[in-house]
């Protein structure tokens, strides 16, 4: 009897029920799409952000410690501990070697600069030697071009980039070039060796006060053959979760199963850990700046998505509440009659709620699939890729839908409770 009445009512009130279903479809599809994009987007944004630079730096463990303790950055003088250039290519042999996209060894130091032909005094300058675009053949036979050029895509360079094979060329950071009055084509001397200035770059950071040269040139100027002070690594990583955070603090705190999962996932902490296994004396750390901007962008996207979901839920609840109230008022005689026949308030409330819930359920199922479609459209147009469908969205959307329909039914139910059979049954 109960279900018979429910279905008859749903069918008889089909225009209102269709409106309710339509409202639910809109709300649910929007929420489903937003949540799937939100959950799937972490990976995508990370990939987008890669272009902003290396996200891991490897230093000598003692130098890294000094950095942590004193906040010293380019620890000239402190930096008398070195890594080995011969270890660098081992980066590609780690478990997540495939996720290591680019890397560049760096050797930093101080040199004395003279400007031949000008009678300005000799000055101390910071120099930085690195791979510019080095062609390597790995032990596996795989060929690889990598170097700083790939990691500094945002540099504004006047003149030319350095040539990997030339040990007599340098580039000036724009601030240093300005301070010392050096122009492209000038010849300078560093620790007594002559170099031609090929270009002037603008980085926007500390590098603007440095001189850049090939690693081989720096090793010869600084007399540190085969040594490097750090490695910059650009890697594709999976956004951190609780496991990754726990591991980042202390990998030893993980259970063997957790360790296995963590090690075999491209978390930045797992990649750092694996890098340390191959680079002698190396300590690998994510670069905080990039990690933070990733975080803020993700937080903002998440906030936006949550906001849209909340707003669409409120909108749905309001629309549903209007429709249900109208439907109940229209049927007040019938519902009053049921009361007169001995139905308790809760029985009538249940009748109305079930009608709405069934309509909501149909709308919800339809809206969910529509939402998955939307998510893919957003994925394709905004991030240029397929968005992984998160199963938990079904649960979240289901719970939200349940409470939204419930909240939307409150005014109608209050009306029902207050409805007196005598008011509707004796009307002429």
């Amino acid at each position: 009897m109960f279900w018979h009445m429910v279905f008859k009512t749903v069918i008889r009130q089909k225009s209102k029920m269709l409106m309710i279903a339509f409202t639910v479809i809109l709300g649910v599809s929007l929420s489903t799409a937003m949540m799937n994009v939100m959950l799937g987007v972490g990976d995508k944004v990370n990939r987008e952000l890669k272009v902003y630079g290396a996200n891991i730096t490897v230093r000598h463990k003692d130098a890294a410690l000094m950095n942590d303790l004193y906040g010293l950055n380019e620890g000239v003088g402190v930096n008398d501990k070195f890594l080995f250039e011969e270890d660098v290519l081992k980066l590609k042999t780690i478990f997540w070697g495939f996720n290591i996209l680019d890397f560049a060894p760096m050797l930093e130091g101080k040199a004395v600069m003279n400007l031949p032909g000008k009678n300005s005094p000799a000055v101390d300058v910071k120099i930085n030697g690195t791979w510019i675009a080095k062609h390597n053949t790995l032990s596996t036979g795989e060929e690889l071009d990598t170097g700083l050029k790939a990691l500094r895509t945002w540099w504004d360079v006047k003149g030319e980039w350095l040539n990997e094979s030339r040990d007599d060329e340098v580039m000036f950071g724009n601030l240093l070039a300005e301070k010392s009055g050096v122009k492209i084509g000038d010849v300078i001397a560093l620790n007594g060796r002559n170099f031609i200035v090929k270009g002037i770059f603008t980085d926007g950071g500390d590098a603007d006060e440095e001189i850049l040269m090939t690693l081989a040139a720096a090793q010869s100027v600084l007399k540190l053959s085969g040594k490097i002070s750090s490695i910059e690594v650009s890697a594709l990583t999976t956004p951190d979760n609780d496991l990754a955070k726990k591991a980042a603090q202390n990998p030893k705190s993980l259970s063997p199963d957790e360790y296995e999962t963590w090690y075999c996932t491209a978390y930045v902490s797992a990649i750092c850990h694996q890098i340390q296994e191959v680079i002698r004396d190396g300590v690998a750390k994510p670069v905080r700046q990039v990690a933070e901007s990733e975080g803020t962008i993700l937080n903002k996207t998440t906030l936006l998505m949550i906001l849209i979901t909340i707003l669409s839920s409120i909108g749905s609840a309001l629309a549903i509440s209007n429709l249900i109230t109208a439907s109940v008022i229209e049927r007040s005689q019938e519902l009053g009659l049921l009361k007169a026949l001995g139905a308790y308030n809760w029985q009538i409330a249940l009748l109305v709620l079930v009608e709405v819930m069934i309509t909501g359920l149909f709308g919800g199922i339809f809206g969910y699939f529509l939402g998955i479609g939307f998510a893919q459209v957003i994925g394709q147009t905004v991030f240029g890729s397929y968005i992984e469908i998160a199963q938990m969205v079904i649960l979240i959307v289901g719970v939200i839908l349940f409470f939204v329909t419930l909240a939307g039914s409150i005014p109608a139910i209050r009306y029902l409770m207050a409805l007196k059979p005598t008011e509707v049954l004796h009307g002429k």
Binding site: L341, G342, Y344, N345, L425
Partner: protein, 234 residues
């Protein structure tokens, strides 16, 4: 001497400054057939609502089958109404999307449990067995009111209450409905009917007349009761 099923003691219903019912005293025995008559606005519907547990008096008490219903809360009133009262209205009030037999079964559903065979039997009693599968819109006014009577009686109430149940019927259908009341009376059902129609009022055993919320006449019609029955049977 049959037992007393209903007693109103000093019952008043006050709306602001208006006394819809003023100090009503009334006793009804089980199996009685009572008509309530009176001009419009005299308090007939108010009285039916109070007896039918759909409203409570402002003062006074109402004893229904030994229980004082004047101080019960809404859900107890619903339960008492469900168990003891069968209601019929001037407007019929059938559920438009349910068939005749389903309309009867709704009352069973909220009372205990739907039983189609029993519901069909009730329709047979009011002569509508062959119309059981029709929707209200496919039935005449008289037929609809007979469905309502079947619905009101399905849970074997102590009292059948009707507020102008023949008010929307033509004479022929009025006769059919009154005939049904008569049969129910013979079976021992207590009947309380509000009516405007003197003919309907006169067939009862007893008739009270209200005016301005007071009982101004209480007429025992037992002497003419058999008479009236005969007249109608011819």
């Amino acid at each position: 001497m049959s037992k007393q099923i209903l007693e109103l003691k000093n019952v008043s219903k006050i709306y602001g400054s208006l006394k819809a019912l003023a100090d009503i005293n009334l006793k009804v025995n089980a199996g009685d057939w009572l008509s309530i008559m009176g001009p419009s606005g005299s308090g007939k519907t108010t009285m039916i609502n109070i007896i039918g547990c759909m409203d409570t008096p402002s003062t006074g008490s109402v004893i229904l089958d030994g229980v004082d219903i004047s101080r019960e809360n809404a859900s107890s009133l619903t339960r008492i109404r469900r168990d003891k009262i069968g209601l019929i209205f001037q407007q019929f009030h059938l559920i438009s999307y349910l068939t005749a037999v389903e309309n009867v079964m709704v009352a069973q559903y909220y009372h205990s449990m739907p039983d189609e065979a029993e519901a069909m039997e009730a329709l047979e009693k009011v002569g509508l067995k062959d119309r059981a599968r029709h929707l209200p819109a496919q039935l005449s006014g008289g037929e609809q009111q007979r469905v309502c009577i079947a619905r009101a009686l399905i849970n074997s109430p102590e009292i059948l209450l009707g507020d102008e149940p023949t008010g929307n019927l033509d004479e022929e259908n009025e006769g059919i409905v009154v005939d049904i009341f008569r049969r129910l009376h013979d079976e021992g059902v207590t009947i309380i009917i509000v009516t405007h129609d003197p003919e309907v009022g006169d067939v009862a055993q007893r008739k009270i007349i209200l005016e301005h919320g007071r009982v101004i006449q209480d007429i025992d019609q037992t002497s003419t009761f058999g008479q009236a029955l005969k007249i109608h049977h011819e």
